[in-house]
Amino acid sequence: MLFAIAFRNTWRNRARSIIIMMSVAIGLFSGIAVMALYNGLLRSRVRTVIEAETGHIQLHAANFKKDYDPALFLHNGINVLQQVRSLPDVKTAAPRSITHGMLSTPTGSSGVQVNGVDPETEYRVSKLNRKIIEGQGFSAAKTNEIVVGKKLAGKMKLKPGAKVVLTFTDTTGNIVAGAFRVAAIYQSNNAPLDEKNVYVTMNGLNYLLGIGNQFHEITLLLQKDDNVKQIQNTLQQKLPGYQVESWKEISPETELMVNTIDEYSFIILVIIMLALAFGIVNTMFMAILERTREIGMMIALGMNRVRLFTLILLETLILTLAGAPIGLLIAWALTAYYNKTGLNLSILGKDMLSSFGYSTIVYPEFPWHRLAAVFILVMGTALLSCLLPAAKALRLQPVAALQR
């Protein structure tokens, strides 16, 4: 009967109740949409990091990353590469020669990381070929070609076919320079990296560095993201003298995002629900004030405080929970739709998003893992919202209330 009274009371002022229910629905939808968008952005960022920047795991000679000394190449690199490729969970692995140097044109110069790559394997690991926006990429016949990022190309006014000079130190410490012709311009989802990284063929770079067929880095892509820790441990045991790092260690800021973005988005939802709580409190206060006489009558007839509190709690819950499924449903439907089609955020500016390492197409993900927490949050909001009005009702004296 209490539920029946609560339910029917909720509809006594239809317009007011519907406004509150829609507020809850919109609030919940907004909160979940933010969570879904964050999840999508996070996943996109992680994919970008793994597939375009670091791979799942990287191998280097110990201390190589301290100074990027070209002499610290991977000893027995070819054997190591074969060992790595033979592991069942490894999807693909690519070698890279790396050095830091200066890219110069007649109009200026810029510090860059020069990545010497084997185009065929590199395309499989970092999908560099898919990011090319101008030019054709490396051709098999030439060794002095260079692929530069869009941001660097813009800064240095480079076009495909333009000539640049790369200057760096070789393994003996002598300064060497080589002339390269721009074969292509690429654009990834990470503009700062595009500005910093240039790609040349490994043969061309190794010739200048004087390291023969050695290389400095092996980048691995695994079959599954979940296997990173296990493969990292296996490799570290097999190759004790090498530095084996996972993407989380190479890109700690992404790892930090993974660990905190859930909390951030949840905080946003809490703030939205808190704001809603004020609306619900106001509505419940109005409901109590309008029904002072009725509540006084119920107390007079023998309705105790526990039942009265339960009645008010039920009314608040109905008011809150009625809007919740609508909000959840809209959030789920829109998330499912954009999860398939992708949400194009280019309106915010492609360069702006890529400067933070994000793709402009985001695939929002419904936060199923947060549903229980969202439900508890909604219940908490209802409970919180009913406390003040309930306290007001519980303080009513039947004689005074009946006289109103």
């Binding site: 009967m1 009371n9 009725e294 009558m297 107390i299 007839l301 023998g302 309705m303 004689v399 009946l402």
Partner: protein, 240 residues
């Protein structure tokens, strides 16, 4: 066998005790026995409603004791008093005060649900009460679909649903037209006669006073007369 339902000793209720004290009830003694049909009369402000509130446990006296069925209700705590009212006292209010979102039947059932009466017994009692008030065909109507007189009859049924020791009615006919008032009085009188239900009602209404077996007159918070009622004038039974 002790038939005492209400025994009130030296009860007083004072408003503004620290500034200008107003004695709403001043040292009143009251003794009511089972089956009484008593009217509390007096001019406005004489303390009728205050006295009903005190013996109904809705308000507490500043001094004195009220013993109902052997329980001193002045010593009960708020929650105990609510529970006591639920099981021992029926109320009929001047302005009906039915729960608007419940049907007539649910309004009557409401009290029994609070008392945790089992469904079978509830159903039986509800049907019996609606027969007694002559509204079997209106059981599923909401209060807004009933006339004032019908609403007040439902209120009487609700008051009786808990099988209370007595029913308090504050100006039960004040908002009713003559026909509805007579009809209500007939029902109350019938319940008093057939089921020995004790009724105490405050009223200005001469029609009600004439139907009472006992009339207690209050003036300025004091009982100034306690007599048998004036014999009934003949009236025609009107059923709405």
């Amino acid at each position: 066998m002790n038939n005492t339902v209400i025994d009130a000793h030296n009860i007083s209720r004072v408003y503004n005790p620290e500034t200008i004290p107003v004695y709403a009830i001043n040292n009143v003694h009251l003794h009511l026995e089972k089956g009484e049909f008593t009217a509390l009369v007096g001019p406005s402000g004489s303390g009728k409603t205050t006295l009903l509130n005190l013996i109904g446990g809705l308000d507490k006296p500043d001094s004195g004791h009220i013993i109902i069925g052997g329980t001193d209700i002045t010593s009960l705590r708020a929650n105990e008093l609510i529970n006591f009212r639920l099981h021992n006292i029926g109320f009929v209010f001047q302005s009906f005060n039915l729960i608007p979102v419940l049907t007539a039947r649910e309004n009557v059932e409401f009290i029994m649900l609070l008392q945790k009466v089992k469904r079978k017994e509830r159903d039986k009692r509800v049907i019996q009460l609606f027969k007694q008030i002559g509204l079997e065909d209106k059981m599923n109507n909401r209060p807004v679909q009933l006339s004032g007189g019908q609403q007040q009859r439902v209120a009487v049924a609700r008051a009786l649903a808990s099988k209370p020791q007595f029913v308090l009615a504050d100006e039960p006919t004040a908002n009713l037209d003559s026909a509805a008032a007579f009809n209500l009085l007939d029902i109350m009188a019938k319940l008093n006669k057939e089921e020995n239900t004790t009724f105490i009602f405050s009223t200005h209404d001469q029609r009600v006073i004439e139907r009472a077996k006992r009339v207690i007159t209050l003036v300025d918070g004091k009982i100034t007369a306690d007599t048998a009622a004036v014999p009934l004038t003949n009236h025609k039974l009107i059923v709405t």
